[in-house]
């Protein structure tokens, strides 16, 4: 049959996915930025030139200078050090929340997509109902009710992501369900759990991976937004969103650096994750 219009490459020896990723400049750039922020999150206090919490009441709102590259804030704290150290909170909450949402969403999506039937219909409607509400509003409601803490943020964001991820995984599972390896495995007497997690899950894993990276970007955005709205985790470590929240009122006074640099940090992290997500998606799509 004339399927091979373009002659098939000797595809027998396929390059591993990570090699293909490294061939892509977008991935390399994104991964480099991401790596930088991860290093900051882990070693932030050791790298930072100043103690990010040390106040210098005689040097408040100083513009960027050789001593303070990003200037100081209204309490005289070094903005550069705060940006470096501020990576930690967000890089703990966002990935854990995304992971939670991905694990739950994948399990739910597998169940809905494979089992189908009445459960799929009922839960499907419920998922759509949740999706109809703006996620940030729902999250705000929960956070306001439960109080702000690292755990709450992780749980709330994770739960909100669950139906979103479940929907994507469900449709990928339904596509797999059309393939003959599913009845072939059923004829071996495989049970539902095995069918879902051993037969189908590996085949929808690329979808899950893409979904994780895309959602991670959203999660960072969400954490920062919540902090900016005053729902940041009130702990002693600095936090980009909270820093913007507490300093943006001074923008009008010309103290732009106190807001700009944390904002750039958030932007760079989200861009980095999107670059990685894009490359992963393209490589997996072949």
């Amino acid at each position: 049959m004339p399927a091979g219009i373009v002659p098939r490459e000797a595809e027998r020896r396929q390059q591993p996915a990570w090699r293909l990723l490294l061939d892509r400049p977008t991935f390399v750039i994104g991964a480099a930025i991401l790596l930088f922020w991860i290093v900051c999150a882990v070693f932030g206090t050791a790298i930072a030139p100043h103690n990010p919490l040390a106040q210098q009441l005689l040097a408040t709102n100083m513009p960027p200078s050789a001593a303070h590259w990003f200037g100081t804030d209204q309490l005289g704290r070094d903005v550069f050090s705060r940006v470096l150290v501020g990576a930690r909170t967000i890089l703990i909450i966002a990935p854990l929340a995304t992971l939670l949402g991905t694990v739950l969403g994948t399990a739910l999506g597998l169940a809905l997509g494979y089992l189908g039937g009445i459960v799929d219909m009922l839960v499907g409607r419920l998922v759509e109902a949740v999706l109809a509400l703006p996620a940030i509003v729902v999250i705000l409601l929960f956070v306001a009710a439960l109080g702000v803490s690292t755990i709450t943020l992780i749980l709330v964001i994770g739960f909100i992501f669950t139906p979103l991820i479940a929907r994507t995984v469900r449709s990928a599972v339904q596509v797999e369900g059309q393939l003959d390896y599913v009845p072939a495995a059923r004829l071996l007497g495989e049970r539902r759990g095995w069918m879902m997690f051993v037969e189908i899950l590996p085949n929808v894993f690329p979808t899950v991976l893409v979904e994780f990276t895309v959602r991670l970007g959203y999660a960072i955005f969400t954490v920062a937004t919540l902090a900016f709205l005053g729902f940041g985790v009130q702990i002693s470590t600095p936090n980009w969103g909270t820093d913007i929240y507490s300093n943006y009122v001074l923008l009008g006074a010309g103290y732009w650096w106190e807001t700009l640099f944390p904002a750039l940090a958030i932007a760079s992290l989200i861009i980095a994750i999107n670059l990685v997500a894009d490359s992963v998606e393209q490589v997996l799509a072949g």
């Binding site: 049959m1 004339p2 490459e9 020896r13 071996l188 007497g189 590996p202 085949n203 894993f205």
Partner: protein, 686 residues
């Protein structure tokens, strides 16, 4: 390759009026910065009104030839040497405007999928009329001519079809519309690329007849591309055999198929079960090895690695095209020795005779399945009674939508039959759902699917795919499992080192072997083979069929063999059941069902299939579409298409029972058996 280019020119002297003249053409695709040759030194010509066939397996470059002729090569492909003339003009030298003219007026193409060639959002009539409008006709006249053209395509009620949208047409109907568009401009050259591959046998026969009829009427040359040798034999005056981008043999179709002069052509023809050939009377002869990967440029003959008679000179230098008769050429040094080419596979078979068992392995009684969707009730299978004996092969034949797959899936427990149906295995009732079946019942029933790409989990290794039934169904573990695994791998002729590979690293034939090994792993009693070779190339198909026959002899399993290829069914089956609209029309021993007298539907199916063994006297043709199973005809469901319908009107009013017309031969037909014999004996019965 330059050496061959200087070889003796094949074919008759260049005629100025040749519709197509291709000389020493080479096409290369640029893949990852490297040029890979897809066609090497291709020369052929198509005379006016001539029908030229190109045959070859997938990857041989058949479609690339068509794309090169019309300059539709993908961006990474180019004609890197040689010359092309269509109606005396060179498409390679044309600018964009000239090329558009060429494609609009001189060359038309028809592809395998008619659905893809039609715009789904525009009514059929408009689309056909567009061709006339491009030719300069006014709207009204264009529509009028379109209707006439559709009528010429034997579309009844063309006016109504004109107002339909493509998705409302059946595959055969859509292909007629595409054909109408293709010849509307009276092109000098009509290229048909696997035009009937996606169609049912009866529909294929109609479309082929139509094309053959049109040829006599039109002043058009045909380039007919197909993997199906019999279709080419039926449709073409001359044929070229492509192998790995080279035209290895060329000549008048009848001569090439009757006395092939290249070992590859010989091998290809031996892969196909011919009339009278059966699994217990000689095996098929498979071609060993694989098609070389594309782009490879060997020093010697491209076929030498798979050739049973290759000599040292074959490996040293590529053979030129030898003149082997009037209008015939063969790229083989040993073209004189092809008549008695040694077999690759020993012909002898020793199938053990299976003792008559007291009772059938499986009995199906009153098996029915009703699907209902959106208020429409479709009876996919209606009251089927069928037994499967130990060690036999039951061939299940019928057009798409006849209920073959539904029957198989109910037997397997993948879909539940309607209430009142009963399936028994060894006298024990089988649960409707897989979950209600015991492990030994699960073990007893397995399947080999049509498409191994879909049937094998692409994330699992071969080892995992094959060993799972061993642990799950056969209950093996540890060294017993390893031993059985190795046995199994050997019995499907694979190598242990391939155990660690994943499906995408295997060729189509190897993948199907893995699927077969999986089906046999648990020690099944019955294996459903659902079109197991239709996704494979001819040369691979033969090896898989031999394997299935060997495994059956060794394990004494029963096959339920589903195929649209009657030649294969005949080769492999002991008994045949012919299904039409969910009902058994005929059931009996293969020899009787094929030998006749047949049910009129079986007769139509048989005469629809093009054969390599000379043209049979045309017997009966089916016209019209298969009725919808949602609204089956009253009386005999086949009466709407039956060419032997009785005048008494009984066929329209009463459904005939499945009656035993001869010992072991059942038929559902009102026509008495003697009368059928008489009616059918004027066409010779082989």
């Amino acid at each position: 390759m330059t050496a061959t280019a200087a070889g003796p020119a094949p074919g008759p002297a260049t005629t100025p009026q040749a519709a197509v003249l291709v000389e020493h053409v080479e096409v290369s695709y640029r893949v990852r910065g490297q040029d890979r040759l897809a066609l090497r030194d291709i020369s052929f010509q198509i005379g006016r009104n001539e029908s030229y066939g190109l045959v070859g397996e997938s990857g041989s470059g058949k479609s690339t030839v068509a794309l090169a002729l019309t300059r539709y090569l993908p961006r990474n492909g180019r004609v890197s040497a040689g010359s092309i003339r269509i109606a005396g003009r060179d498409p390679l030298a044309m600018n964009a405007a000239e090329l558009r003219q060429l494609r609009a007026r001189e060359v038309s193409m028809v592809y395998q999928e008619p659905g893809k060639a039609l715009n789904p959002a525009i009514q059929v009539g408009e689309q056909v009329a567009e061709v006339y409008e491009v030719a300069g006709l006014g709207k009204a006249e264009a529509l009028e001519r379109s209707e006439a053209m559709l009528g010429k395509m034997q579309i009844s009620d063309p006016g109504r079809v004109m107002r339909r949208y493509p998705h409302q047409l059946s595959g055969g109907m859509a292909q007629r519309v595409v054909l109408a568009m293709a010849i509307a401009a009276s092109p000098a050259l009509l290229i048909l690329d696997e035009p009937t591959t996606a169609l049912d046998a009866t529909v294929e026969a109609e479309v082929l007849d139509l094309v053959a009829g049109l040829r006599e009427e039109l002043d058009t040359s045909l380039l007919f591309i197909s993997h199906n040798l019999a279709v080419i034999a039926k449709m073409c005056d001359r044929v070229g055999v492509l192998y790995a981008g080279e035209l290895i043999e060329e000549g008048p179709a009848r001569q090439v198929f009757d006395q092939p002069r290249h070992p590859y052509t010989v091998g290809l023809l031996r892969c196909i079960p011919r009339q009278g050939q059966r699994k217990d009377r000689g095996r098929l002869d498979a071609i060993p090895g694989f098609l070389p990967p594309p782009g490879q440029t060997p020093t010697g003959c491209i076929f030498a690695p798979r050739c049973p008679i290759a000599e040292q000179r074959c490996r040293d230098a590529a053979p030129p095209a030898f003149d082997v008769g009037p209008g015939r050429s063969s790229r083989c040094y040993l073209h004189a020795a092809t008549a008695d080419l040694p077999r690759n596979t020993p012909a002898d078979v020793s199938l053990p005779t299976i003792a008559e068992a007291a009772r059938p392995v499986v009995t199906m009684r009153n098996l029915s399945k009703t699907f209902s969707s959106r208020g429409e009730v479709v009876r996919a299978l209606v009251g089927v009674n069928l037994d499967l004996e130990r060690g036999e092969t039951l061939g299940l034949v019928g057009e798409s939508g006849s209920g073959k797959t539904t029957l198989a899936r109910m037997l397997l427990g993948l879909i539940a039959p309607d209430a009142g149906s009963a399936i028994e295995l060894d006298g024990m009732p089988l649960g409707a759902d897989l979950r209600q079946r015991s492990r030994s019942q699960l073990k007893a029933l397995q399947i080999v699917f049509q498409n191994p790409d879909s049937a094998l989990n692409r994330r699992h290794t071969v080892r995992r795919l094959i060993s799972r039934p061993l642990s799950k169904l056969a209950g093996l573990s540890g060294s017993a499992l390893t031993e059985r695994l190795n046995d199994l791998v050997r019995s499907v002729r694979m190598e242990p080192r391939q155990l660690s590979l994943r499906p995408r690293q295997l060729s189509g034939g190897l993948k199907q072997r893995v699927a077969i090994a999986r089906a046999f792993g648990g020690g099944p009693r019955i294996v459903v083979c659902d079109e197991p070779t239709s996704a494979l190339d001819v040369s691979v198909q033969a090896a898989i069929l031999n394997l299935l026959a060997d495994l059956q002899a060794k394990e004494q399993v029963t096959y339920l063999f589903i195929s649209h290829d009657l030649g294969l069914v005949r080769y492999l089956s002991d008994r045949i059941a012919v299904l039409y609209l969910g009902r058994i029309m005929e059931l009996g021993e293969a020899e009787r069902v094929f030998g006749g007298p047949h049910h009129p539907y079986t007769e139509a199916l048989l005469s629809a299939v093009p054969s390599l063994d000379g043209q049979r006297a045309d017997r009966i043709r089916l016209t019209g579409e298969i009725p919808s199973a949602a609204d089956p005809p009253a009386g005999c469901v086949f009466h709407t298409r039956c060419p032997r319908r009785l005048a008494s009107g009984i066929c329209e009013s009463t459904e005939p029972p499945l009656a035993e017309v001869e010992p072991g031969h059942f038929m559902s037909c009102h026509i008495p058996i003697d009368q059928l014999t008489n009616l059918q004996s004027n066409g010779q019965v082989p």
